[in-house]
Amino acid sequence: MSGHPTPETGQSPGGRHLGELKKGERARVTGVDERGVVTTLPEGELERRMIEMGLVEGSHVEVLHEAFPGRDPIAIRVNEHTLALRRAEARAVLVAPAA
């Protein structure tokens, strides 16, 4: 696990998750915690995939585009590359406002 204590909701106190960012918002990743996200994947798998795709503590993210309908999925810039993911899974990525 990320080593960042978080309540069961998957949301850190006062912090936010990537899934709720709006278009144009920038943030810094503070942790990856897949509890609270429903997936078909075995335990621990979503977290590992996120890390492999560059969503790891310290990464800079910015929401670039939103698809239709429901502003989902989203395209985000992660450091140097662009990544498409759904908001549901993006909940696993905890973020803080960019410094």
Partner: protein
């Protein structure tokens, strides 16, 4: 390594993230023309080639599917893992790993390099796309990176002439060292030790990469602004989707509009050739075989070359620009409505060309249920081999009326409707499958969107040339052979004394057609159609060729010059034509599709299901179309 083994050429494998240019490097090294395109997941199986190094050493290269980690999550990535770890049956792990990294995106790419380094195998790191990296203002100290990683690092530009020279030289050096090492370390050929990294390990790799970047990369470069600006429009929730549908519509419209002139040319050439043969040879079986069998049959297929090239032109351009991954992004939510993954768009779009690569491209879909659902509907996308049938019937039965002030033609619109019927029924089938046999939530979508790239005209031209070659080779072999067989079946035995009908009625083909007729009469098919459907299972476009031969053989003297479309218009009713079109929307797939499905699903069960459900849909759709059309018209 045994004495025998050392006689084999040394093997190197290209490993790296998806879309970093491994196949482009493979092509540059070996001179082959494997498919290169700008989206992640192009290569789905291993490809083997050879080249001779500058020092004259013959080397075997293996191109592998891209992956973010050896923890393979989909069937294509398993291939990479098994080759790298030497788990493939009877194969040692490669003597040298060439890790390919996209220099514009080192942070992401180096993590795999760090993971691979732990295997303890000889490694070279190729920093590919150096041209793009320089344009972005990246400043990478390759020497420092090499020192910090402890492996040789070479910059490459896979798509530029001479862009792989440094890699070639480095391979020679590494091979010499690797064979020395292999000589005194027998355990080298044993499967390497590797265990799945935990999330803690992954974070450690990440830290290592951050350290490397801090020491060796002075400037990571600016992200491409152009891509971002273009995406602001193309990924717009409303304009983006509108643009996507416009592109697809234009594609089908162009298949008609652009191909018309060259098709007329080919048509003229074919009938000229036929006339010339008819005038030169004396009347008899040989002349009939040449004109009615080969020229009428093969000619009626070859005429569709321009349309197929227009279709491939669009697909090649879409693939090369990087738009396909965007389409998957835009459609993820909509396709989710029927339970499909956005990624499924890519295999489905390739299925417009041919279902065989489409079914194979589904390998990049991780979840088995999602993948099977995609495979099962891929043949419902109208493949290019069905295009001739559509075109022929449209030419025969749909008047060429301009609509919207000449912007679109009625034939193009009908064509679009046929494609749309295929797509919509595919979605309906997916919905049913995902609601019953393939229940379950969708896999997460985690997909890199590559930077846009201008397609290289030379690559597109070569790609089209390649397609034309394949198509003509097929016309010259499979279709040619089938046409000769069909001509024999349609010509022998000849008509008995005092026959009133054209001779073909009494031939074997005629008998087959008449035997099948009762089965197909409820859906309005004539015995000629029945004859054409049988070889159509081997290669769908042959159906058109067979009709060409049948009608050439049935025609009497004065009708001889009329085109096949004209002959059909004169002898079929409109409901019959519509019914055949409906049949071909679902047309039970060809043998090639069924066998690739068997290979991809490891058994006959799924191909059998596919055949059964498609033939049922085809028969049902034709039945309804025929009945409704007969009642209304």
């Amino acid at each position: 390594m045994s004495v025998l083994d050392s006689a084999l050429p040394p093997r190197i494998a290209l490993v790296g993230n998806p879309n970093c240019g491994k196949t482009a490097l493979f092509n540059a090294l070996t001179g082959s023309r494997q498919k290169v395109a700008n989206y992640p997941g192009v290569t789905v199986e291993r490809k083997i080639g050879h080249f001779v190094s500058p020092l004259g050493r013959r080397v075997q290269v293996i191109d592998l599917p891209g992956t973010y980690s050896l923890r393979a999550r989909s069937p294509d990535e398993e291939v990479t893992r098994d080759v790298v770890l030497g788990r493939f049956s009877h194969e040692d792990s490669p003597d040298l790993l060439v890790c390919v990294a996209d220099a514009t995106n080192l942070r992401l790419n180096l993590r795999l390099v760090v993971e691979l380094k732990r295997l303890g195998r000889p490694i070279i790191l190729a920093l590919n796309m150096m041209d793009a990296a320089e344009k972005r203002g990246c400043r990478i100290d390759a020497a420092a990176l090499s020192a910090a990683l402890g492996v040789p690092v070479v910059p490459t530009v896979a798509i530029r002439r001479g862009g792989v020279q440094p890699l070639l030289e480095q391979i020679d050096g590494a091979m010499a060292m690797a064979s020395d090492a292999a000589a005194d370390a027998a355990e080298n050929s044993a499967p390497c030790g590797w265990s799945e990294p935990s999330s803690r390990d992954l974070r450690a790799y990440h830290q290592e990469v951050e350290g490397l970047l801090a020491g060796c990369v002075a400037d990571a470069g600016l992200p491409p602004l152009a891509t971002r600006r273009v995406d602001a429009v193309l990924l717009h929730p409303v304009f983006g989707l509108a643009f996507l549908f416009l592109v697809l519509f234009l594609m089908f419209q162009a298949v008609f509009a652009w191909a018309e002139a060259p098709m007329n040319l080919i048509d003229g050439a074919v009938s000229g050739l036929k006339d010339w043969v008819a005038a030169t040879l004396p009347d008899g079986a040989l002349r009939s075989l040449l004109t009615d069998g080969i020229i009428a049959g093969v000619g009626s297929v070859v005429i569709f070359l321009p349309q197929i090239l227009v279709l491939f032109f669009f697909i090649l351009v879409l693939e090369a620009t990087g738009y396909l991954a965007r389409a998957a992004f835009l459609l993820d939510r909509l396709m989710g409505g029927v339970g499909l993954h956005g990624r499924a768009f890519i295999p489905l779009l390739s299925s417009f060309a041919c279902a065989v690569p489409g079914v194979m491209a589904a390998r990049t879909i991780e979840n088995r249920a999602d993948r099977l659902a995609t495979i099962m509907i891929a043949p419902l996308m109208t493949c290019s081999a069905r295009l001739p049938v559509y075109t022929l019937l449209i030419a025969a039965f749909v008047p060429d009326r301009p609509l919207l002030g000449g912007l679109v033609g009625l034939p193009g619109l009908v064509m679009f409707a046929l494609y749309a019927a295929g797509i919509l029924s595919a979605l309906a089938v997916a919905f049913v499958l995902k609601g019953t046999v393939f229940k379950g939530a969708r896999e997460p979508l985690l997909m890199e969107l590559p930077a846009y790239r201008l397609p290289n005209p030379r690559d597109i031209a070569l790609g089209l040339f390649e397609r034309a070659k394949v198509f003509l080779a097929r016309a010259g072999t499979t279709i040619f052979a089938l046409m000769i067989v069909m001509w024999f079946l349609a010509s022998f035995p000849g008509a008995p004394e005092g026959a009133t009908e054209p001779a073909i009625q009494y031939s074997i083909a005629g008998m087959i057609g008449h035997a099948l007729e009762p089965l197909l009469a409820p859906i309005g098919f004539t015995w000629q159609i029945a004859v054409a459907l049988v070889p159509g299972i081997a290669a769908r476009e042959v159906a058109v060729g067979v009709l060409g031969t049948i009608y050439a053989l049935s025609e009497s003297g004065d009708a001889l010059q009329s085109s096949l479309a004209g002959a059909l218009a004169a002898s079929w009713s409109l409901p019959t034509a519509l019914s055949l079109l409906a049949w071909y929307v679902f047309a039970p797939q060809c043998v090639a599709t069924l066998s690739v499905v068997k290979r991809e699903t490891n058994g006959w069960f799924w191909p059998a299901v596919m055949f059964a459900y498609m033939i049922t849909l085809a028969y049902g759709a034709s039945f309804i179309t025929y009945r409704v059309a007969s009642a209304l018209l």
